[in-house]
Every structure is written in C-alpha cells, then in structure tokens.
Symmetry: C2
C-alpha cells in the first residue's frame, strides 16, 4: 500500500514545489517507486520534472478529478526510472469553483488515486498556496503532511491557520492524518532573521521539525529551468544533497516505527 | 475620485504584500491619502502595518464583503498619518467558497469600496496567491493592476495565466482595467538567473516593466516583524528607498497622462 504524503502550506513561495519535486526524486533514487501528483494550477511541479503542463493529449489531474479519464491514463514516466508524474493543467484554476457544487467534493482525489495504491510505494502531492478545496482534497487523501517553512517572519505567522485546517480535516474527514514534519527551507546562515525563525519554530514545534535544514542554494532555483530535479542538474550541490538527506531522515523514521 | 490599484500575482511569495505595504506607505509620505485593503486571509498586509488580523471588534473586510457592516466602520488608522488600513481576517478563507453562490459575487468589493471613493486619493489592494474570487473581486474593482515579478524561473512561467485572467476580466467585467506595470522584485545582482529573468521579462513586456527594480534586501523581510513598513523601520535601506523610487516613478507616469 502506497504511503501518501502531501506537501502543503498556504503561505506562498515557501518551497512546496521545490520540496515535492526533490523529495520525490530523492525517494526514487532509493529505488522506491514514487508518483509525484501536481495539484497546483501553476503546474510548477510538472515542469520541474520536465513534464508539459496539461499533460499529453490533455491527460492530467483535472480530467481525472472531473471523472473524465481513469487515473492510470494520466500517469507519465520521467527522466528517473522510479519516478512517475501525474501532471497538472492550467484549467485546474476552475476546479476549485467547480468542485464546490459536486458530490463528495473533498474525496474526489482520494477516490481517484485508490486504483494506484498497489503500484507505488510513495505518492507525493504538491499543493497550491491556499487552503481551498484542492488542498483539502490532498489532505483528505493523505497519510501525512510535510510542511515547508521558509525562515521568514510572514511564514511563521501563517502556521497557526495551517494547523487549524489540519485539525479540522482530522476531526471531520481523515482521523489518521499525521504531521510528517516541518522542514526549514531557504535557510541563509548569514541572516539573523533566519536563525530567529528557526529557533522559534523548534521552540514551538519541538521534534516535529526535521533535523535536516534546506539551505538557500541557487542550484535549487536554477534546476527547474532545465526541467530537472536538483539531483539530475547539480547532484553535488548543497541543495540536492540536503534533499537526499531529508528523504533519508524521513525514511529512517518510517522504518523505525 | 480614488485611483484603485490591485497588487496581484497567483505565484506565491513573489513580494505582493511587501509591495502593497511599501507602495502604500510611500504614497502616504507623498501626502496622498491612501487606503491599504488586505484581501488575503493570511492577513500579512494587516500585520505589516501594525494592525491586528481580524480588526478591532471584528471590523474587517470579510464582514464588509458579507454585507454585515458598512466599509467606513472597518477602516483603521496606522502609524503614518496619511495611511489607513482595511484589515483582513482569517475567516476570509471561507469567503471564496461562500462567494461562489452569492449574487453579484465578483462585484461585492467594488460596491463595498464605492462609498470611500471621495475620501482617498489612492486605494491599494493586496491579494492572496490565487486567481479565485477574491482576486477577481479586486481586479473588478480596480483601475489598474501592478504585478510583482520575482526574478526566478517559476515566477516567469506563471505570467501567461495571469495575463489571460486579466484579459478575461477586461472583456467581461471591467473594460477599463489597465496594467500599471510589472515590478521586478528580490533582484540579487550576484545571481545569473536574476539577470536572465529580468532580461527576458523586459524583452517580452518592454516598457510595461518599471525602470525601478526592487533589490533583495534583508530590511524588507525584517520590517514586518516590527509591524512597520520599511520606511519607518529602516528608511535609509536600499529596500525602503527602492519602494519610494517606485512610488515616484508611478506617480510621475500618472501626472504625465
Ligand atoms: N532552498 C532554496 N534555495 C534557493 N531558492 C529556492 C529554494 N527553494 C525554493 N527556491 C526558489 O524559490 C521560489 C519559491 O519556491 P517554490 O516555487 O518551490 O515555492 P512554493 O511554495 O511551491 O510556491 P507557490 O506558493 O507559488 O506554490 C522558486 O523560484 C524556487 O526556485
Ligand atoms: N525585496 C525583498 N528582499 C528581501 N526579502 C523580501 C523582499 N520582498 C519580499 N521579501 C520577503 O520574502 C517573503 C515573500 O514576500 P511576500 O510575503 O511579500 O510575498 P507575497 O507574494 O505577498 O506572498 P503570498 O503569495 O504568500 O501572499 C516575505 O517573507 C518577505 O518578507
Ligand atoms: Mg508551488
Ligand atoms: Mg502576500
């Protein structure tokens, strides 16, 4: 049975897509069959692994959510042999409004992914920067949620509404939803604010914060322009190495349980 | 009659709030009576000028949009004598879903702000990172839209869907909506990617890109933790100065017409 991991935070630009793409790539080089699901209308995770937004011949997550095609038809291979992609399309923008009036509106992703449970070891879902119906669908479908936290003031402010939403999902729809952990991103050691935010986050969240910290590293922001995860674009970079380390830390926790 | 300016981009973390807060503050020290409207459930612009998310006694933009209180009751003073705030609250998260089934759902902000048109010279609206009903309300109510563009690859990718949405609003609802301009943000001169993105943006968008470029400057990310715009926290910083320059460039264009 696949573990389903959502990468979520309604604060924008905190590193959700960069984390989803590079965690999925790191898990795949540990030879775990991994599916990256792009649930963001911006389709950044799709282009981050070299996919075409919209998918080939319109085979994408939007059409799966709308029940027009079975999920298996939308799954694509990537440059990494154990990594597969379920691409997003721009018309996902309309999905939030369309879902409002649909039956089982928050379960549609869980039901759509169910046929794939036996085919993958891990499913990683990238979310848009909001707590709307797309993110709710992802949290409903997931075993756990990983929260990227940019080491900035506004990002810390947003944590409480995210935890409130996670609690709401746990009470109502998905009682087993766990917090996989909070990962500090874009950490710039020269910057006082980054140290302050990191200390405050560890103070409040204790061991829910991963030991691995993702540094600000220009290779991480360059790699999407080449359509590659960092470990294919600049494997020796601190950025690529920190995500390999994060994946190892997460898997070690899984094996320990 | 107030000029209404929306700061929008569905890409997250590109500097929408930082631009809204610091442009509004810069306009206010030019002694233009300015209202900052926070339409983002994260309420970052509210805390960026020292306000309390939710407003005093629940007087905020959510209750104004729902028709529960008149807009004048929600307007607050700030530390700057010509700057006023219309605060956001966390329950704006639910507004997108609630608005879907309401009458005149995309015009509610325009109608709510109408009574204030004579009281302010400029109204600046900060938006959440999405193209949902809150951002559509802002674009419907506005004379023009300013687009912060982070000098990164993913941010450039997102421009085309934003322009498509602006065109849609222009055709359907607000034919007079102009593009105020695209402002390059978090520009790090040591970083090749930033130069590449800036060149590409100027190549495609030509003089729609402001001459003023906002540099990456730590004072801009520190000032929100003090509840102050940069010109009150560190007026001599390159960050604060670049926003004063941007406001001057924009006002010069207004006076030239
Ligand atoms: N550790 C890092 N070092 C340097 N740049 C980074 C790092 N992580 C992410 N970036 C860059 O910062 C920007 C924001 O990251 P990203 O797009 O992954 O965030 P996001 O949370 O997915 O954004 P959105 O809210 O729009 O979905 C991107 O341009 C990305 O390339
Ligand atoms: N020029 C700059 N230099 C350094 N830091 C900046 C700059 N502009 C913004 N920041 C910081 O980068 C982060 C993202 O900026 P901001 O929150 O303004 O973006 P946003 O587009 O409003 O994000 P969201 O999509 O979540 O609304 C914030 O922590 C902010 O303090
Ligand atoms: Mg993203
Ligand atoms: Mg913002």
């Amino acid at each position: 049975m696949a573990r389903i991991l959502t990468i979520a935070n309604q604060k924008g630009g905190v590193g959700k897509t960069t984390t989803a793409v590079n965690i999925a790539a790191s898990l795949s080089v540990m030879e775990k069959r991994t599916l990256l699901v792009d649930l963001d209308p911006q389709a950044n995770a799709t282009s981050g692994v070299g996919g075409t937004p919209g998918g080939d011949a319109e085979r994408n997550i939007y059409r799966v959510l709308m029940g027009e095609i079975p999920v298996a038809e939308a799954v694509r291979a990537t440059d990494l042999s154990y990594l597969f992609l379920l691409p997003a399309s721009y018309d996902l923008i309309g999905a939030e409004i369309e879902l409002v009036t649909m039956e089982r509106r928050e379960r549609r992703l869980a039901e759509a992914l169910a046929p794939l449970a036996g085919e993958f070891e891990v499913i990683v879902i990238d979310c848009p920067p909001s707590l709307g119906l797309l993110t709710v669908n992802a949290l409903f479908a997931s075993d756990s949620v990983m929260i990227p936290l940019q080491c900035e003031y506004y990002a810390l402010e947003g944590l409480s509404s995210l935890f409130r939403t996670i609690d709401r999902i746990r009470e109502g729809m998905n009682p087993l939803l766990r917090i996989e952990g909070v990962v500090l991103t874009m950490f710039d050691a020269r910057n006082n604010l980054a140290h302050q935010v990191a200390e405050e986050a560890r103070g409040i969240l204790k061991d829910q914060v991963f030991q691995t910290v993702i540094p600000r590293n220009v290779r991480l922001s360059e790699s999407p322009s080449h359509g590659k995860p960092a470990l294919l674009y600049a494997v020796a970079s601190r950025g690529a190495q920190s995500y390999l380390e994060l994946a190892r830390e997460m898997v070690t926790r899984w094996n320990a349980k």
